[in-house]
Symmetry: C2
Subunit: 171 residues, 2 copies
């Protein structure tokens, strides 16, 4: 699929078919995340791919009961192992680096005909407990994947003029 | 360009031709960022597109003297206007949301035949001073853009087995 089409047709999918994801598709999606750039190429990222149904059910509970976390065929849990790394601008490396990798995966899922949805509403301590994640690891976000059972319209976006200025700040 | 090719061929480019970016290409790149998903679709993002040469020179100084910040034809400065928003998982929304939008732009630049490079090594207060950015705004990262004057080889990446585990944490 063309990049532009992937960007334009990606949706947050919250209804899924009860149908597993082929392993070759899953591996290509994960590989898209593997190839993502990261600060100083540190690649501080670990992805837990959860397809076990009981664990998806428990992750759904940890995600404030969002049912699609259980209904999706796989949950990719994006983790950072060295969350103490900071960039000179003052930002932590890990949320940015994980977001870039998960964004690559979300676009790759679209290109594979799969739906995805970012999950940021979850209790990190519960997710860590369910998946035996050590204390120092941070869970940044989850990306759920599966065959879409809905075709939502595009959500509204601000106009380019509202979010773009030239050469200096303007409100 | 195919998504997969964009992901595979994207490089961090640090040498640029002295050649402006066509406006239609720049607008398509910005639009790729505009279409990116964000937490609760808040779209808290503002992009300052800096092509003015004197400002690029000063941004280069603010970026610890990295010369390619000045040599690139445009610097996209990714800003968040409401950096106080937090997701239930405890992460701030803004670094993740800005990273996703800038990642879209970096891939779109690749598809347009342009090079790009994430810049995280900068002094935020100096960047804000140069571009008249108000105090409460956060500058998350800069993405420099231009026609590449180098063709670097792909940087090494960890193997998929090193960064992927299934159904529970493993080291």
């Amino acid at each position: 699929m063309e990049l532009t089409e992937a960007i334009r047709s990606r949706r947050s999918i919250r209804k899924y078919e009860d149908r597993p994801i082929e392993q070759d598709k899953l591996l290509r999606i994960l590989d898209a995340g593997r190839l993502a750039p990261s600060a100083r190429n540190l690649q501080d990222r670990k992805f837990i791919v959860v397809s076990d149904q009981d664990k998806r059910r428990r992750l759904s509970e940890a995600a404030n009961g969002q049912p699609y976390v259980e209904k999706a065929s796989a949950v990719i849990v994006g983790c950072a192992t060295e969350p103490e790394n900071i960039m000179p601008c003052g930002q932590f490396c890990y949320p940015i680096d994980l977001a870039v990798a998960l964004d690559h995966m979300s676009l790759a899922a679209t290109a594979e005909g799969l739906g995805s949805c970012w999950i940021g509403a979850f209790q990190e301590d519960k997710v860590k407990q369910i998946l035996d994640i050590p204390e120092k690891i941070r869970v940044v976000a989850m990306l759920i994947l599966g065959y879409p059972a809905e075709s939502p319209a595009a959500r509204p976006r601000k106009k380019l003029e509202e979010i773009t200025v030239y050469d200096k700040w303007e409100n």
